[in-house]
Amino acid sequence: MSSNLHPVNTILIEHLAKRFGSAGQDTGHVLRDINLRISGGEFFVLLGPSGCGKSTLLNVIAGFLDKTAGSLLLNNEPICKPGRDRAMVFQHPDASLFPWLNIRENIEFGLRMKKVTPGERQEISDKFIKLVGLAGHANKFPRELSGGMKQRVQLARVLANDPAILLMDEPFGALDAMTRRSMQQELVRIWTQAKKTVVFVTHDIQEAILLGQRIGVMSKAPDATIYKLYEVKLPYPRDITTKEFNDLYKKIEANFLQEEADIVYKEKLIG
């Protein structure tokens, strides 16, 4: 898979910190001292418990939130606002899809904003409707689709706009186990075809190992940071029943438990 990597579209994060509220208030940092380099074409997974600051970091990379300190570069250019080059697949499709547009119109949204001609739009949307397995549903509206299908629409909507980087915020978290498994497999297939950089957020260790070339493990907010990086050398598509998979799972889980224990220990010392 290393043939997927390009020097272009590299995200470089150095000493990044994020605090909510204005400078005057001392609300504490959610993120502190994040350092990360994500190469072009890489599938990177951000793993951490709920509320640890994963979405916050992803939203800073997307340009939806301003960082408080540090540097954030894409192709050596600072990121300061949202752009076509970074697309987000949101956790809740009902909040992010446009319910007044049918599936095809949702997928063509970015192209329409760019004033691509209707003929060309149709050609592109056809391609991505097929790629994500929504053929035959183009004229339906989001409310007529299941949760898994809505996430396919989100995926097609961003892919049709041809971004360099895909940001995905727990996109399969609300799906049932069976649907989630097939969506994970398809995402890997699409990623190998589309050759995009993916930053994928999850709190599920198994999902992280199933998908990522590298896994960054985040500690809890406040002052969350990426304190450990794992490289996953297993070939795609990955098999959760192999010994290697299981060994890595145990290693990461032990890591989490250790981190929990450390926090409890620290709290005891303070309190």
């Binding site: 949101f90 992010s96 899809l97 319910p99 007044w100 904003m113 409310r143 909507r157 971004p163």
Partner: protein, 260 residues
């Protein structure tokens, strides 16, 4: 059994019961000047319909309501969008809204007659006041209820701020605007009846007011029934047209009690 279900659903059963109870109550009182029954009212209506005054009054009231409602909606929607979308404007206007929302349009009748005369203008402006108010509030609430994620999605798909306004904010607000204009129609009827009772020589409100003076209680009932029917029919028309034109925005004819 299935037959009964159909009649119930169409509201026929409810109305038959109402008519029955009303007729019995009228017979028990035995004073048509005080409480005329459905048959008395039917008799009275033939007179009123025959000389053409009923249709004239209905059309006059309806024209006032529709004109005021249309104009009020036309300028209420853009103002509501502006209030919802532009924070400074919202902060500037919110104190007024929170003050005037407690003053019903009927309370302005005397003032508007003084300012705009006894003619059509004062009535039109009165209905516009009531309509635009409720449309502004609902539209602004719709903009504020918009999921931030939709705007973020549009932005990272390359939409400019102007494109976001026209392609995300307005379409997402349409169901709220729809609720606003439907509620406003109800308020318009309230306002016009008040205005016609106090300052008019024509219209259904005028009919109700003067009939009482002449002890034509059956005509008062005709006025009330006419209002109910006019409101019911205009609401049906709005619902039907909206469901055709705005189906993709989630608007259907299946709505109850004027809610969403």
């Amino acid at each position: 059994m299935k037959h009964l279900q159909h009649l119930l659903k169409a509201g026929i059963v409810s109305w038959l019961i109402a008519l029955g109870v009303w007729q019995i109550a009228a017979l028990m009182f035995g004073k048509p000047d005080f409480l005329p029954g459905p048959l008395d009212v039917f008799q009275g209506s033939r007179e009123l319909i025959a000389d053409g005054s009923w249709l004239k009054f209905v059309l006059i009231s309806l024209r006032r309501v529709l004109a005021g409602w249309l104009l009020g909606s036309l300028w209420g929607v853009p103002i509501g969008l502006l209030i919802g979308h532009v924070k400074i404007f919202r902060q500037l206007v919110e104190p007024y809204l929170n003050f005037f929302r407690f003053i019903p349009s009927i309370a302005f009748i005397t003032l508007f007659v003084l300012w705009f005369g006894i003619g059509e203008e004062s009535k039109l402006i009165l209905i516009m006041y009531g309509t635009s108010f409720i449309v502004i509030l609902n539209t602004a609430a719709g903009v504020l209820a918009l999921d931030e994620e939709k705007v973020r999605a549009a932005r990272s798909l390359g939409a400019s701020e102007t494109q976001i306004f026209f392609h995300v904010i307005i379409p997402a607000t349409i169901p709220y605007i729809y609720t606003g204009v439907r509620l406003a129609m109800g308020n318009s009827f309230m306002a016009i009846v008040g205005a016609e009772m106090i300052a008019a020589n024509e219209g259904i409100g005028y009919l109700i007011w003067t009939s009482r003076l002449y002890f034509k209680t059956d005509w008062v009932f005709i006025g009330l029934i006419s209002l109910g029917l006019m409101g019911f029919l205009t609401d049906r028309v709005i619902r039907f047209i909206s469901a055709q034109a705005f189906r993709r925005y989630g608007i259907t004819t299946e709505t109850r009690f004027g809610g969403k």
